[in-house]
Amino acid sequence: MVQLATPKKQSLKRRFLRAFQRDKWLYLIMLLPFVYYVLFCYYPMYGVTLAFKQYKPKLGIIGSPWASNNGMKYVLQVVRDPYFWTVFRNTIILNIENLIITFPAPIILALMLNEVAHARYKRIVQTVTYLPHFLSTVVVVGMMNSMFNSSGIVNQIIASMGMEKINFLNDAQYFRPMYIGSNIWQSVGWDTIIFLSALSGLDMQLYEAAKIDGAGRWKQTLHVTIPGILPTIIIMLILAMGRIMNVSYQKILLMMTGTNQSVSDVISTYVYRRGITKADFSYATAVNLFQSLVSLLFVSVTNWISRRTSETSLW
């Protein structure tokens, strides 16, 4: 066996060396990106083990010893922390509500744009509705605060109608609508791009056939257009499900106030506060681990369901 294996190994090694020799410039070009991926993607990925370690700044992530309880100390601490379950619940509720409301919006808008006969008007609407996508989170939250605070334009209108002013920014019950509403405002236009390109790829003959069968515009939309873009919708839905746990915490951190924290605090913001502000590194990493697991679960389940029902899937 050994005798047989040795020559083969050698030739493999030689083949590799020859390939390396031939492609040496390509390997050279790849060197910097390779170093980048190792240092800033794979090293932090290994850093997830921090959840099972007792972090010692001097020893670094790799050198720190394993935590007590067979490394499970922090994971158990997280599971037993009632506040973790509050933020866990907040994350799930906020994201599911957000997905249900924001996901159909660009599809409806794309269908409406598709009905516009004047190409120029359509283009103007697109240009204008894409714009909010390019504004920074800080700017969006800034504008929202100035419009919805107690002296802002919205409350001025409410007051002028003789109603009581609403504390949109601090009242916990308005946090989710404000968060989701601003998400729609920022992304509805931009997110139509994918659906519009799917719409433009539909076969015109199908419409002709539907018309001959006596289908009106509405029936055509229902039976030709929507089934036509369904694969795109499903792929986008799976992708959205994959992102379901990573809420835009950068925005939430800006919107969070002492009074809405009971609903606005989500896993990522909790990780930020425990990890960065309080330097509880291992604990925060363990909290984050739960988020990754739930995300993975969400993508897998959606992918499984869609493969069963529609033959469209990511893998």
Binding site: I29, Y36, V48, G142, K211
Partner: protein
């Protein structure tokens, strides 16, 4: 291809549709417009309320106050981070995309796998923070630039563009004695200008708009970018802290927290607003290339 059909209901729908889309445009633009007219109105008028369409008691004092503060320092930082960051992004993405685009590259499978994994898994906030800290990059601009040097999504778009260049062109250059470095910089990059321009826009907008990395990695005020200035103005009534240096007497009320914030929002967004109409179609193109791949 729209053929006139349907009767009254169709017309009614069309009218509704056009009006709805018009309203939507107003909804998209009005918040920015409101910030603009607030920023050039007199602070006292803003306090009284009722400014909805036309600015009242025009004044530029808000802007001069901002300028006399440390606006230019923040702006300079943002410009430096954006320019250097975007250059690093483009350079690194091209270096990574080229070998992956070459079908004959023996390491192609390995490196493609290595890159793809990062689309689905990441270390998360804390390991990343500790990594940056352990490399001694805290309070340097590299903390904002190196950790995101390659956006794998954008890199894949560039790779797709590189792949569309005929292999024969590259081979003939190599027969003339050009090595891959020369091929990349003399042939492949010049032929992919359109895609690279799109990527330049994507990367630079990201840098211009980001605030969170700066919040994580920078503790020195003189390193803060514009977005952090704006964030700090939002969080507290930062009137005094941000403008005391400018020596403005707060009792004139010409300039208030509200007008200052609006002006800061306008200043922060202005570069994007100016460039946007001209480059919008490139952005859209970028999304299309990305989606064809995905």
């Amino acid at each position: 291809m729209k053929i006139k059909e349907g009767g009254v209901s169709r017309t009614v729908f069309q009218i509704f549709n056009y009006c709805f889309l018009f309203l939507l445009m107003l909804v998209c633009l009005y918040p920015l417009y409101l910030q603009f007219i607030t920023s050039i109105s007199h602070g006292l008028e803003v306090m009284k309320g009722g400014i909805t369409l036309i600015p009242r008691n025009l004044t530029l004092q808000t802007y001069t106050t901002l300028v006399r503060g440390e606006l230019f320092m923040y702006m300079k930082n943002t410009v430096v981070y954006t320019v250097v960051g975007t250059l690093v992004n483009l350079m690194m993405s091209c270096l990574c995309a080229y070998p992956l685009a070459r079908r004959t590259f023996s390491g192609r499978k390995f490196f493609t796998a290595m890159v793809t994994v990062t689309l689905f898994f990441s270390g998360g906030m804390i390991p990343m923070y500790l990594t940056v800290r352990s490399f001694g990059m805290m309070d340097t601009m590299w903390a904002l630039i190196l950790p995101g040097a390659i956006s794998t999504y954008n890199m894949i778009i560039i790779r797709t563009a590189f792949q569309s260049i005929p292999e024969s062109l590259i081979e003939s250059a190599q027969l003339d004695g050009a090595n891959d470095v020369i091929v990349l910089f003399r042939i492949v990059i010049p032929l992919s200008k359109a895609t690279l321009a799109t990527m330049l826009l994507f990367y630079s907008v990201t840098h211009w708009n980001s605030y969170f990395d700066a919040m994580l990695y920078l503790n020195k005020k003189e390193l803060y970018p514009l977005q952090i200035m704006l964030r700090n103005m939002l969080i507290g009534g930062l009137f005094n802290e941000e403008t005391a240096i400018a020596g403005v007497s707060a009792d004139s009320f010409a300039v208030t927290d509200a007008t200052l914030r609006s002006a800061a929002i306008i200043v922060t967004t202005l570069p994007i607003l100016i460039v946007y109409p001209f480059v919008q179609r490139y952005f859209v193109k970028g999304v299309m290339i990305g989606s064809v791949k995905g």
